[in-house]
Subunit: 158 residues, 3 copies
Amino acid sequence: MAKKLNILMFSGEYDKALAAMILANTARQIGVDVTMFFAFWGLCLLRNHGNNDMEGKSFYEKLFSAMTPKGPEDLPLSKMNFSGIGKAMMLEMMDENETPTLSDFFNGAIKKGVKFYACKLSMEVMGIDKDELIPEVEVMNAQQYLEDALEADVQLFI
Amino acid sequence: MAKKLNILMFSGEYDKALAAMILANTARQIGVDVTMFFAFWGLCLLRNHGNNDMEGKSFYEKLFSAMTPKGPEDLPLSKMNFSGIGKAMMLEMMDENETPTLSDFFNGAIKKGVKFYACKLSMEVMGIDKDELIPEVEVMNAQQYLEDALEADVQLFI
Amino acid sequence: MAKKLNILMFSGEYDKALAAMILANTARQIGVDVTMFFAFWGLCLLRNHGNNDMEGKSFYEKLFSAMTPKGPEDLPLSKMNFSGIGKAMMLEMMDENETPTLSDFFNGAIKKGVKFYACKLSMEVMGIDKDELIPEVEVMNAQQYLEDALEADVQLFI
Protein backbone atom coordinates (compact mmCIF):
# COMPACT_ATOMS: atom_id res chain seq x y z
CA MET A 1 0.00 0.00 0.00
CA ALA A 2 1.25 3.47 -0.90
CA LYS A 3 2.53 5.77 1.83
CA LYS A 4 0.53 8.94 2.45
CA LEU A 5 1.34 12.62 2.96
CA ASN A 6 -1.37 14.87 4.38
CA ILE A 7 -0.94 18.65 4.37
CA LEU A 8 -3.25 21.09 6.14
CA MET A 9 -2.65 24.30 4.19
CA PHE A 10 -3.68 27.08 6.57
CA SER A 11 -1.38 29.88 5.36
CA GLY A 12 -2.00 32.07 2.35
CA GLU A 13 1.57 33.04 1.60
CA TYR A 14 3.66 32.49 -1.52
CA ASP A 15 6.71 31.02 0.20
CA LYS A 16 4.77 28.64 2.45
CA ALA A 17 2.56 27.55 -0.45
CA LEU A 18 5.70 26.96 -2.52
CA ALA A 19 7.16 24.75 0.22
CA ALA A 20 3.91 22.77 0.42
CA MET A 21 3.61 22.38 -3.36
CA ILE A 22 7.24 21.27 -3.76
CA LEU A 23 6.64 18.60 -1.10
CA ALA A 24 3.39 17.52 -2.77
CA ASN A 25 5.03 17.20 -6.22
CA THR A 26 8.06 15.40 -4.81
CA ALA A 27 5.88 12.97 -2.87
CA ARG A 28 3.95 12.00 -6.02
CA GLN A 29 7.24 11.47 -7.88
CA ILE A 30 8.20 8.76 -5.39
CA GLY A 31 4.74 7.18 -5.40
CA VAL A 32 3.43 8.73 -2.18
CA ASP A 33 -0.29 9.64 -2.10
CA VAL A 34 -0.95 13.27 -1.24
CA THR A 35 -3.99 14.99 0.27
CA MET A 36 -4.03 18.75 0.69
CA PHE A 37 -6.73 20.34 2.84
CA PHE A 38 -7.02 24.11 2.33
CA ALA A 39 -8.47 26.09 5.24
CA PHE A 40 -8.62 29.77 6.24
CA TRP A 41 -6.02 31.82 4.29
CA GLY A 42 -5.01 28.69 2.42
CA LEU A 43 -8.34 28.88 0.57
CA CYS A 44 -7.00 31.95 -1.28
CA LEU A 45 -4.64 29.60 -3.09
CA LEU A 46 -7.58 27.78 -4.68
CA ARG A 47 -9.39 30.86 -5.93
CA ASN A 48 -10.02 30.95 -9.65
CA HIS A 49 -9.05 34.46 -10.70
CA GLY A 50 -11.86 34.85 -13.26
CA ASN A 51 -14.69 33.64 -11.03
CA ASN A 52 -15.08 36.29 -8.39
CA ASP A 53 -18.81 36.01 -7.78
CA MET A 54 -20.00 38.95 -5.67
CA GLU A 55 -23.69 38.05 -5.96
CA GLY A 56 -25.19 36.65 -2.78
CA LYS A 57 -22.25 37.78 -0.67
CA SER A 58 -22.84 39.89 2.46
CA PHE A 59 -21.09 43.26 2.84
CA TYR A 60 -18.26 41.78 4.87
CA GLU A 61 -17.91 38.83 2.53
CA LYS A 62 -17.57 41.20 -0.45
CA LEU A 63 -14.99 43.29 1.39
CA PHE A 64 -13.09 40.20 2.46
CA SER A 65 -13.20 38.79 -1.06
CA ALA A 66 -11.81 42.06 -2.48
CA MET A 67 -9.03 42.30 0.13
CA THR A 68 -7.65 38.75 -0.06
CA PRO A 69 -5.38 37.20 -2.70
CA LYS A 70 -7.05 35.67 -5.77
CA GLY A 71 -5.03 32.61 -6.69
CA PRO A 72 -1.44 31.41 -6.26
CA GLU A 73 0.50 34.24 -7.96
CA ASP A 74 -1.40 36.86 -5.95
CA LEU A 75 -0.08 35.62 -2.57
CA PRO A 76 2.38 37.77 -0.56
CA LEU A 77 5.55 36.47 1.09
CA SER A 78 5.37 35.53 4.78
CA LYS A 79 8.53 37.60 5.48
CA MET A 80 10.11 40.64 3.86
CA ASN A 81 7.21 41.16 1.48
CA PHE A 82 7.78 44.95 1.61
CA SER A 83 4.58 45.74 -0.33
CA GLY A 84 5.58 43.22 -2.95
CA ILE A 85 9.20 44.29 -3.49
CA GLY A 86 10.57 41.34 -1.56
CA LYS A 87 8.31 39.00 -3.49
CA ALA A 88 9.36 40.46 -6.86
CA MET A 89 12.99 39.94 -5.80
CA MET A 90 12.26 36.33 -4.80
CA LEU A 91 10.56 35.72 -8.18
CA GLU A 92 13.60 37.19 -10.01
CA MET A 93 15.90 34.94 -8.03
CA MET A 94 13.74 31.91 -8.83
CA ASP A 95 13.76 32.93 -12.50
CA GLU A 96 17.57 33.29 -12.56
CA ASN A 97 17.78 29.70 -11.32
CA GLU A 98 15.06 28.48 -13.69
CA THR A 99 12.98 27.37 -10.71
CA PRO A 100 9.33 26.79 -11.65
CA THR A 101 6.82 29.30 -10.21
CA LEU A 102 4.17 28.44 -7.63
CA SER A 103 1.60 28.11 -10.46
CA ASP A 104 3.87 25.63 -12.23
CA PHE A 105 4.17 23.49 -9.08
CA PHE A 106 0.43 23.90 -8.52
CA ASN A 107 -0.44 22.67 -12.01
CA GLY A 108 2.15 19.91 -11.67
CA ALA A 109 0.49 18.76 -8.45
CA ILE A 110 -2.91 18.62 -10.19
CA LYS A 111 -1.49 16.59 -13.10
CA LYS A 112 0.31 14.20 -10.75
CA GLY A 113 -2.91 13.42 -8.89
CA VAL A 114 -2.51 15.36 -5.65
CA LYS A 115 -5.98 15.51 -4.08
CA PHE A 116 -7.21 19.03 -3.29
CA TYR A 117 -9.88 19.65 -0.66
CA ALA A 118 -11.37 22.97 0.48
CA CYS A 119 -12.48 23.35 4.09
CA LYS A 120 -16.29 23.59 4.23
CA LEU A 121 -16.46 25.79 7.34
CA SER A 122 -13.81 28.23 6.00
CA MET A 123 -15.80 28.56 2.75
CA GLU A 124 -18.97 29.31 4.71
CA VAL A 125 -17.35 31.89 6.98
CA MET A 126 -15.52 33.64 4.14
CA GLY A 127 -18.59 33.40 1.88
CA ILE A 128 -16.66 31.64 -0.87
CA ASP A 129 -18.70 29.44 -3.25
CA LYS A 130 -17.40 26.29 -4.87
CA ASP A 131 -17.63 27.91 -8.32
CA GLU A 132 -15.14 30.57 -7.21
CA LEU A 133 -12.52 27.85 -6.72
CA ILE A 134 -10.56 25.89 -9.31
CA PRO A 135 -12.61 22.95 -10.66
CA GLU A 136 -10.19 20.27 -9.36
CA VAL A 137 -11.18 20.96 -5.73
CA GLU A 138 -13.66 19.02 -3.64
CA VAL A 139 -15.25 20.27 -0.43
CA MET A 140 -14.45 18.45 2.83
CA ASN A 141 -15.18 19.09 6.51
CA ALA A 142 -12.83 18.93 9.49
CA GLN A 143 -13.91 15.38 10.37
CA GLN A 144 -13.06 14.09 6.90
CA TYR A 145 -9.71 15.87 7.09
CA LEU A 146 -8.94 14.22 10.43
CA GLU A 147 -9.92 10.77 9.22
CA ASP A 148 -7.57 11.21 6.27
CA ALA A 149 -4.77 12.58 8.48
CA LEU A 150 -5.08 9.62 10.88
CA GLU A 151 -4.35 7.27 7.96
CA ALA A 152 -1.36 9.28 6.71
CA ASP A 153 2.33 8.62 7.44
CA VAL A 154 3.26 12.29 7.51
CA GLN A 155 1.00 15.18 8.53
CA LEU A 156 2.07 18.79 8.25
CA PHE A 157 0.31 22.01 9.27
CA ILE A 158 1.65 24.72 6.99
CA MET B 1 -7.12 1.62 21.71
CA ALA B 2 -8.18 5.14 20.81
CA LYS B 3 -6.25 7.08 18.18
CA LYS B 4 -4.40 10.18 19.38
CA LEU B 5 -4.02 13.76 18.15
CA ASN B 6 -1.22 15.87 19.63
CA ILE B 7 -1.08 19.62 18.97
CA LEU B 8 1.83 21.86 19.93
CA MET B 9 0.16 25.28 20.11
CA PHE B 10 3.00 27.76 19.63
CA SER B 11 1.08 30.65 18.02
CA GLY B 12 -0.99 33.20 19.88
CA GLU B 13 -3.34 34.19 17.08
CA TYR B 14 -7.11 33.99 16.86
CA ASP B 15 -7.30 32.27 13.47
CA LYS B 16 -4.62 29.67 14.23
CA ALA B 17 -6.11 28.97 17.66
CA LEU B 18 -9.52 28.59 15.99
CA ALA B 19 -8.11 26.03 13.55
CA ALA B 20 -6.51 24.11 16.42
CA MET B 21 -9.66 24.19 18.57
CA ILE B 22 -11.91 23.07 15.70
CA LEU B 23 -9.59 20.12 15.10
CA ALA B 24 -9.50 19.29 18.83
CA ASN B 25 -13.32 19.37 19.12
CA THR B 26 -13.79 17.35 15.95
CA ALA B 27 -11.28 14.75 17.06
CA ARG B 28 -13.11 14.20 20.35
CA GLN B 29 -16.41 13.85 18.46
CA ILE B 30 -15.00 10.83 16.61
CA GLY B 31 -13.43 9.31 19.73
CA VAL B 32 -9.87 10.49 19.17
CA ASP B 33 -7.84 11.45 22.28
CA VAL B 34 -6.42 14.96 22.15
CA THR B 35 -3.44 16.53 23.90
CA MET B 36 -2.69 20.22 23.46
CA PHE B 37 0.66 21.57 24.62
CA PHE B 38 0.72 25.39 24.83
CA ALA B 39 4.15 27.02 24.50
CA PHE B 40 5.45 30.55 23.87
CA TRP B 41 2.68 32.77 22.42
CA GLY B 42 0.25 29.87 22.70
CA LEU B 43 0.33 30.34 26.49
CA CYS B 44 -1.65 33.59 26.01
CA LEU B 45 -4.60 31.44 25.04
CA LEU B 46 -4.67 29.87 28.50
CA ARG B 47 -4.56 33.10 30.47
CA ASN B 48 -7.41 33.66 32.84
CA HIS B 49 -8.51 37.25 32.26
CA GLY B 50 -9.24 37.99 35.92
CA ASN B 51 -6.04 36.56 37.37
CA ASN B 52 -3.29 38.89 36.23
CA ASP B 53 -0.96 38.61 39.16
CA MET B 54 1.77 41.29 38.92
CA GLU B 55 3.26 40.48 42.33
CA GLY B 56 6.62 38.74 42.18
CA LYS B 57 7.09 39.57 38.49
CA SER B 58 10.26 41.30 37.29
CA PHE B 59 10.07 44.57 35.34
CA TYR B 60 10.23 42.79 31.98
CA GLU B 61 7.76 40.13 33.05
CA LYS B 62 5.27 42.85 34.07
CA LEU B 63 5.75 44.67 30.77
CA PHE B 64 5.42 41.43 28.83
CA SER B 65 2.32 40.47 30.77
CA ALA B 66 0.73 43.85 30.01
CA MET B 67 1.60 43.73 26.31
CA THR B 68 0.39 40.22 25.47
CA PRO B 69 -3.18 38.96 24.92
CA LYS B 70 -5.12 37.85 28.00
CA GLY B 71 -7.22 34.89 26.93
CA PRO B 72 -8.76 33.59 23.68
CA GLU B 73 -10.92 36.56 22.65
CA ASP B 74 -7.98 38.95 23.10
CA LEU B 75 -5.84 37.30 20.39
CA PRO B 76 -5.14 39.14 17.10
CA LEU B 77 -5.43 37.60 13.62
CA SER B 78 -2.24 36.22 12.03
CA LYS B 79 -3.02 38.12 8.81
CA MET B 80 -4.89 41.33 8.03
CA ASN B 81 -5.45 42.17 11.65
CA PHE B 82 -5.26 45.90 10.80
CA SER B 83 -5.25 46.98 14.46
CA GLY B 84 -8.26 44.78 15.08
CA ILE B 85 -10.43 45.85 12.13
CA GLY B 86 -9.73 42.65 10.21
CA LYS B 87 -10.50 40.61 13.30
CA ALA B 88 -13.77 42.46 13.94
CA MET B 89 -14.70 41.74 10.31
CA MET B 90 -13.86 38.06 10.73
CA LEU B 91 -15.97 37.89 13.91
CA GLU B 92 -18.91 39.54 12.07
CA MET B 93 -18.58 37.01 9.26
CA MET B 94 -18.49 34.15 11.76
CA ASP B 95 -21.55 35.60 13.47
CA GLU B 96 -23.46 35.89 10.16
CA ASN B 97 -22.85 32.19 9.65
CA GLU B 98 -23.65 31.30 13.26
CA THR B 99 -20.17 29.87 13.68
CA PRO B 100 -19.23 29.48 17.36
CA THR B 101 -16.48 31.82 18.63
CA LEU B 102 -13.03 30.71 19.73
CA SER B 103 -14.21 30.78 23.37
CA ASP B 104 -17.10 28.47 22.47
CA PHE B 105 -14.75 25.97 20.82
CA PHE B 106 -12.37 26.38 23.75
CA ASN B 107 -15.06 25.59 26.32
CA GLY B 108 -16.30 22.76 24.11
CA ALA B 109 -12.83 21.26 24.08
CA ILE B 110 -12.64 21.39 27.87
CA LYS B 111 -16.06 19.71 28.21
CA LYS B 112 -15.16 17.03 25.68
CA GLY B 113 -12.02 16.07 27.61
CA VAL B 114 -9.24 17.59 25.52
CA LYS B 115 -6.14 17.60 27.75
CA PHE B 116 -4.51 21.02 28.16
CA TYR B 117 -0.85 21.36 29.13
CA ALA B 118 1.19 24.55 29.61
CA CYS B 119 4.90 24.50 28.76
CA LYS B 120 6.94 24.79 31.96
CA LEU B 121 9.91 26.61 30.41
CA SER B 122 7.68 29.14 28.60
CA MET B 123 5.91 29.89 31.89
CA GLU B 124 9.25 30.45 33.63
CA VAL B 125 10.65 32.71 30.90
CA MET B 126 7.46 34.76 30.60
CA GLY B 127 7.02 34.85 34.37
CA ILE B 128 3.52 33.38 34.21
CA ASP B 129 2.29 31.54 37.31
CA LYS B 130 -0.07 28.59 37.22
CA ASP B 131 -2.77 30.61 39.01
CA GLU B 132 -2.80 33.06 36.10
CA LEU B 133 -3.95 30.28 33.80
CA ILE B 134 -7.36 28.62 33.52
CA PRO B 135 -7.79 25.90 36.18
CA GLU B 136 -8.12 23.05 33.64
CA VAL B 137 -4.44 23.31 32.66
CA GLU B 138 -1.60 21.16 33.92
CA VAL B 139 2.09 22.04 33.60
CA MET B 140 4.33 19.84 31.45
CA ASN B 141 7.92 20.03 30.23
CA ALA B 142 9.31 19.46 26.72
CA GLN B 143 10.26 15.85 27.49
CA GLN B 144 6.73 14.98 28.56
CA TYR B 145 5.38 16.67 25.42
CA LEU B 146 7.72 14.61 23.23
CA GLU B 147 6.83 11.35 24.95
CA ASP B 148 3.16 12.11 24.33
CA ALA B 149 3.79 13.15 20.72
CA LEU B 150 5.73 9.94 20.01
CA GLU B 151 2.62 7.93 21.01
CA ALA B 152 0.24 10.02 18.88
CA ASP B 153 -1.05 9.23 15.39
CA VAL B 154 -1.09 12.86 14.26
CA GLN B 155 1.20 15.63 15.51
CA LEU B 156 0.76 19.23 14.44
CA PHE B 157 2.84 22.33 15.21
CA ILE B 158 0.46 25.28 14.99
CA MET C 1 15.29 0.69 17.07
CA ALA C 2 15.39 4.33 18.15
CA LYS C 3 12.34 6.54 17.63
CA LYS C 4 12.76 9.44 15.21
CA LEU C 5 11.84 13.14 15.21
CA ASN C 6 11.93 15.01 11.89
CA ILE C 7 11.66 18.80 11.82
CA LEU C 8 11.24 20.87 8.67
CA MET C 9 12.57 24.26 9.76
CA PHE C 10 10.98 26.74 7.35
CA SER C 11 10.83 29.83 9.58
CA GLY C 12 13.70 32.18 10.27
CA GLU C 13 12.56 33.53 13.61
CA TYR C 14 14.24 33.43 17.00
CA ASP C 15 11.25 32.14 18.97
CA LYS C 16 10.30 29.41 16.47
CA ALA C 17 13.93 28.33 16.13
CA LEU C 18 14.17 28.22 19.92
CA ALA C 19 11.11 25.95 20.10
CA ALA C 20 12.61 23.66 17.44
CA MET C 21 16.02 23.53 19.11
CA ILE C 22 14.58 22.81 22.55
CA LEU C 23 12.62 19.90 21.06
CA ALA C 24 15.71 18.63 19.21
CA ASN C 25 17.88 18.75 22.36
CA THR C 26 15.19 17.14 24.49
CA ALA C 27 14.64 14.37 21.95
CA ARG C 28 18.33 13.46 21.96
CA GLN C 29 18.30 13.40 25.78
CA ILE C 30 15.73 10.62 25.71
CA GLY C 31 17.49 8.71 22.92
CA VAL C 32 15.33 9.87 20.01
CA ASP C 33 17.09 10.40 16.65
CA VAL C 34 16.61 13.89 15.22
CA THR C 35 16.79 15.18 11.66
CA MET C 36 16.38 18.89 10.96
CA PHE C 37 15.85 20.03 7.38
CA PHE C 38 16.36 23.77 6.94
CA ALA C 39 14.53 25.39 4.00
CA PHE C 40 13.68 28.95 2.93
CA TRP C 41 14.03 31.37 5.86
CA GLY C 42 15.20 28.50 8.04
CA LEU C 43 18.46 28.52 6.08
CA CYS C 44 19.36 31.82 7.78
CA LEU C 45 19.79 29.86 10.98
CA LEU C 46 22.66 27.88 9.44
CA ARG C 47 24.60 30.85 8.14
CA ASN C 48 28.13 31.16 9.39
CA HIS C 49 28.52 34.80 10.34
CA GLY C 50 32.11 35.12 9.13
CA ASN C 51 31.63 33.46 5.74
CA ASN C 52 29.48 35.86 3.75
CA ASP C 53 30.83 35.18 0.28
CA MET C 54 29.51 37.80 -2.15
CA GLU C 55 31.60 36.58 -5.06
CA GLY C 56 29.64 34.82 -7.76
CA LYS C 57 26.31 36.08 -6.41
CA SER C 58 23.86 37.88 -8.71
CA PHE C 59 22.62 41.38 -7.80
CA TYR C 60 19.46 40.03 -6.17
CA GLU C 61 21.36 37.31 -4.36
CA LYS C 62 23.74 39.92 -2.89
CA LEU C 63 20.83 42.12 -1.83
CA PHE C 64 19.02 39.14 -0.33
CA SER C 65 22.14 38.01 1.48
CA ALA C 66 22.61 41.49 2.98
CA MET C 67 18.96 41.78 4.05
CA THR C 68 18.51 38.42 5.77
CA PRO C 69 19.70 37.31 9.23
CA LYS C 70 23.22 35.86 9.48
CA GLY C 71 23.05 33.09 12.07
CA PRO C 72 20.90 32.23 15.09
CA GLU C 73 21.38 35.34 17.25
CA ASP C 74 20.53 37.60 14.30
CA LEU C 75 16.97 36.25 13.92
CA PRO C 76 13.96 38.47 14.79
CA LEU C 77 10.96 37.36 16.86
CA SER C 78 7.87 36.14 14.98
CA LYS C 79 5.66 38.44 17.10
CA MET C 80 6.21 41.75 18.88
CA ASN C 81 9.71 42.15 17.51
CA PHE C 82 9.24 45.97 17.48
CA SER C 83 12.51 46.57 15.58
CA GLY C 84 14.32 44.36 18.06
CA ILE C 85 12.96 45.82 21.31
CA GLY C 86 10.65 42.87 21.88
CA LYS C 87 13.49 40.47 21.18
CA ALA C 88 15.86 42.30 23.58
CA MET C 89 13.13 42.05 26.22
CA MET C 90 12.72 38.32 25.56
CA LEU C 91 16.49 37.81 25.84
CA GLU C 92 16.53 39.71 29.16
CA MET C 93 13.71 37.54 30.45
CA MET C 94 15.53 34.39 29.36
CA ASP C 95 18.68 35.68 31.05
CA GLU C 96 16.82 36.42 34.32
CA ASN C 97 15.72 32.78 34.32
CA GLU C 98 19.15 31.48 33.31
CA THR C 99 17.63 29.95 30.20
CA PRO C 100 20.29 29.10 27.59
CA THR C 101 20.24 31.23 24.39
CA LEU C 102 19.35 29.93 20.95
CA SER C 103 23.08 29.56 20.17
CA ASP C 104 23.52 27.44 23.29
CA PHE C 105 20.69 25.11 22.26
CA PHE C 106 22.06 25.12 18.72
CA ASN C 107 25.54 24.07 19.84
CA GLY C 108 24.00 21.56 22.23
CA ALA C 109 22.08 20.01 19.35
CA ILE C 110 25.27 19.67 17.30
CA LYS C 111 27.10 18.03 20.21
CA LYS C 112 24.22 15.66 20.89
CA GLY C 113 24.23 14.42 17.28
CA VAL C 114 21.16 16.13 15.80
CA LYS C 115 21.55 15.82 12.02
CA PHE C 116 21.41 19.14 10.14
CA TYR C 117 20.46 19.29 6.47
CA ALA C 118 20.17 22.36 4.23
CA CYS C 119 17.57 22.35 1.44
CA LYS C 120 19.35 22.21 -1.95
CA LEU C 121 16.69 24.16 -3.87
CA SER C 122 16.50 26.92 -1.25
CA MET C 123 20.29 27.30 -1.39
CA GLU C 124 20.18 27.59 -5.19
CA VAL C 125 17.35 30.13 -5.22
CA MET C 126 18.88 32.26 -2.46
CA GLY C 127 22.37 31.92 -3.96
CA ILE C 128 23.81 30.53 -0.72
CA ASP C 129 26.92 28.34 -1.06
CA LYS C 130 27.73 25.45 1.25
CA ASP C 131 30.81 27.32 2.56
CA GLU C 132 28.57 30.11 3.84
CA LEU C 133 26.89 27.62 6.18
CA ILE C 134 28.19 26.07 9.39
CA PRO C 135 30.43 23.06 8.65
CA GLU C 136 28.14 20.54 10.41
CA VAL C 137 25.49 20.85 7.69
CA GLU C 138 24.93 18.51 4.77
CA VAL C 139 22.91 19.37 1.66
CA MET C 140 19.72 17.40 0.96
CA ASN C 141 16.91 17.68 -1.56
CA ALA C 142 13.14 17.52 -1.00
CA GLN C 143 12.97 13.83 -1.93
CA GLN C 144 15.59 12.90 0.67
CA TYR C 145 13.72 14.98 3.25
CA LEU C 146 10.47 13.17 2.47
CA GLU C 147 12.06 9.73 2.64
CA ASP C 148 13.43 10.63 6.06
CA ALA C 149 10.10 12.09 7.22
CA LEU C 150 8.22 8.94 6.13
CA GLU C 151 10.43 6.90 8.49
CA ALA C 152 10.00 9.28 11.43
CA ASP C 153 7.55 8.92 14.35
CA VAL C 154 6.95 12.67 14.67
CA GLN C 155 7.16 15.22 11.87
CA LEU C 156 6.80 18.94 12.49
CA PHE C 157 6.73 21.89 10.08
CA ILE C 158 8.00 24.89 12.01
